[in-house]
């Protein structure tokens, strides 16, 4: 991870240095990305959602677990349906749920958890996948064959079922949720990194490093990993929504986050249970989640087009 961060910085430093002489690959990529309107709009929107999830609960008048007995299952003031039981009024802009809790702030708390799980599990998968793929690809030979055969076997397992077993066995341990989902998602990452490594290790600069006496793991860490950043970034942005989906899926089945904490999956589940009387409790969480997933996918597609222009 540190190596990746440093390499991005390196790339930026290189970028600045080369602007004078000509455009580097990274500048090109950034320009292509910024010209992609869908990707830019998604980044802005996602930024807004993330910032709101971080800061709005700090000053919002309602706590995420505060029960308002006077406003149980109340629609927001502006809700178009005429036949609702009651109107929440005040700052309940998304109405209240069946326990009289403010839906807006609960969605923001759900966003915190969903995004946190998304990021953390993706980091886990990133770490495992990059290490595994780089080692397998660089060392090659028997070891490579063995390691990739192992990935093939894991690929054919219905892994979400194993996550379910894990959650059943360990009673919805929050920390385990990150690790379990992350441990499921690293396979494709490993394949991508291995493929890149295979072509990288033929390059002259690797040979130069080897000739200069850099050790195997030094080469992997300093020379291989920084150079696979491009495809890895693309895949990371596409992994985050998958992870968010998996977490919501588990929470929806009642195997993920537990009350009074909440995530988008829990909120959608609650909303689905009472949609006949209070459809807003379904519509808002579902809409916010769908928008977020869209944003990630558009950014991922945009990044791919930007970093790998031949694919367009």
């Amino acid at each position: 991870m540190i190596a990746t961060g440093a390499s991005i910085q390196n790339a930026e430093v290189m970028m600045r240095a080369q602007v004078v002489q000509g455009r580097s690959l990274w500048v090109d990529a950034r320009n292509r990305l910024l010209r992609n309107r869908a990707a830019v709009a998604s980044m802005v929107l996602l930024g807004i959602i993330a910032l709101m999830a971080l800061f709005v609960p700090l000053f919002w008048p309602y706590a995420y677990n505060a029960v308002d007995y006077d406003h149980i299952s109340c629609a927001p003031d502006w809700w178009p349906e005429e036949s609702v039981m009651c109107r929440a009024g005040g700052l309940h802009i998304f109405g209240t749920d069946d326990l009289g809790r403010d839906l807006f702030v609960r969605i923001l708390y759900g966003a915190r958890i969903s995004l946190a799980v998304g990021l953390a599990a993706t980091l886990v998968s990133l770490f495992i996948g990059v290490t595994y793929g780089a080692i397998s690809g660089y060392i090659g030979g028997r070891l490579d064959e063995f390691m990739m055969r192992f990935v093939d076997i894991l690929y054919s397992l219905p892994f979400i079922f194993f996550v379910i077993i894990l959650m059943v066995v360990f009673q919805q341990n929050f920390f385990l949720l990150f690790v379990a989902i992350g441990a499921v998602e690293w396979l494709t990452m490993a394949r991508i990194v291995r493929g890149q490594t295979l072509s990288l290790k033929q390059k002259e600069f690797i040979e130069a490093a080897r000739a200069a006496g850099v050790g195997t793991f030094g080469i992997i860490r300093k020379h291989i990993v920084p150079n696979v950043v491009g495809p890895v970034i693309v895949y990371v942005t596409l992994t985050i929504p998958t992870v968010i989906l998996s977490e919501s899926f588990l929470s929806f089945l009642g195997l993920g986050i537990r009350e009074p904490l909440t995530s988008w999956g829990v909120l959608i589940k609650d909303g689905a249970d009472q949609m006949e009387s209070a459809s807003w409790t379904l519509v808002f969480p579902a809409a916010i989640m769908a928008i977020t997933l869209f944003c990630f996918n558009f950014i991922g597609d945009g990044l791919r087009d930007a970093l790998d222009p031949k694919d367009r």
Partner: protein, 315 residues
């Protein structure tokens, strides 16, 4: 070809073995047994119950007993549904789940192929963009969102078009009545329709640019023949290797869909089993699904080898 099939088949056995072993020991390290309750049982009764389920023996013996039973498809008794064995529950749910899943796959293939081909033939035109945008929706929006929303539209609000009542039942199986199947099948198929049409569009665009398609056109073949006889056959190849993951996705999706729509299939047993900590049931269903997916992956690979003469498997 034949030796390839044999080798692949032999390779599938350890995979299944790993699944069984992993699943079994994960279940056994679980804190708390299935018979722990607030009311303490008299020791003799507790002992008898444990003996009846072989739980009094050391874990490794339990493991071999379980393997032995599995070898003639006995998944053991369900810990929570006392009067049923896991095999009975699976046999109960299987026809329902199979009907649902197969209909969804069929719908996904049919619509996905059609939409993907249409998009590819109109590449970068408005039809293409709109199909791909809709596909993006299908991929990003999870089935546990589409299911309640479709329920809301067709069940709760009730839609009518030109005086025709389009409302649909939103729960229950009703012995597989078509009206009851429409919503679950659509929800299950939507993401797969999206993936399949994207896949087909991608490969179709590539194939349409290839030399032999240009040759076919140069010979003066009508467009219909070029597309259906020459291009489509090559373009469906990636789809064959996607079939395995697609089935896996449909199985996973059926957990949600069967729960939401109250359909008595395997998926609902599995979800309930997971919530009730019915270990044998959960483990049985996982092994069953895994075996199913492995076999289908195997078939898909073999089919691929048959369809694509460029693939050589003999070493």
């Amino acid at each position: 070809m034949f030796s390839y099939a044999i080798r692949r088949f032999l390779g599938a056995i350890p995979t299944l073995f790993i699944i069984i072993t992993l699943g079994f020991f994960m279940m056994r390290i679980a804190p708390g047994g299935p018979f722990d309750s607030n009311r303490r049982l008299p020791p003799e009764i507790e002992h008898n119950i444990k003996a009846a389920y072989d739980l009094d023996k050391p874990v490794y013996q339990q493991y071999f007993i379980y393997l032995g039973k599995l070898s003639h498809l006995d998944f053991g008794p369900s810990f929570k549904n006392k009067d049923f064995t896991v095999s009975q529950l699976i046999a109960d749910g299987l026809p329902v789940s199979a009907e649902l899943g197969l209909s969804a796959i069929a719908l996904a293939l049919l619509l996905g192929l059609t939409l993907g081909t249409i998009a590819a033939l109109n590449q970068n035109r408005i039809t293409d963009h709109s199909v791909m945008t809709v596909a993006m929706f299908g991929i990003t929006i999870p089935n546990f969102v589409t299911a309640p929303i479709l329920t809301l539209i067709f069940g709760v609000y009730g839609v009518s078009l030109f005086g025709l009542d389009l409302s649909l039942p939103v729960g229950g199986w009703n012995n597989g009545a078509v009206r009851n199947m429409i919503l679950p099948v659509i929800v299950l198929a939507l993401p797969q329709i999206a993936v399949v049409s994207r896949l087909i569009r991608g490969s179709m665009v590539e194939v349409l640019r290839s030399n032999y398609v240009r040759t076919a056109r140069a010979k003066g073949l009508p467009n219909r023949l070029v597309v259906f006889r020459h291009a489509l056959r090559a373009a469906v190849l990636p789809l064959v290797s996607y079939l395995g993951p697609a089935i896996a996705a449909i199985l996973t999706g059926s957990l949600v869909v069967e729960t939401i729509f109250g359909i008595p299939g395997i998926g609902r047993y599995f979800t309930n089993g997971a919530l009730n900590r019915d270990y044998t049931l959960v483990l049985g269903v996982v092994i069953y699904y895994a075996a199913f997916i492995i076999v289908l992956n195997l078939l898909a690979d073999l089919l691929y080898a048959v369809l694509d003469p460029r693939v050589r498997y003999d070493q």
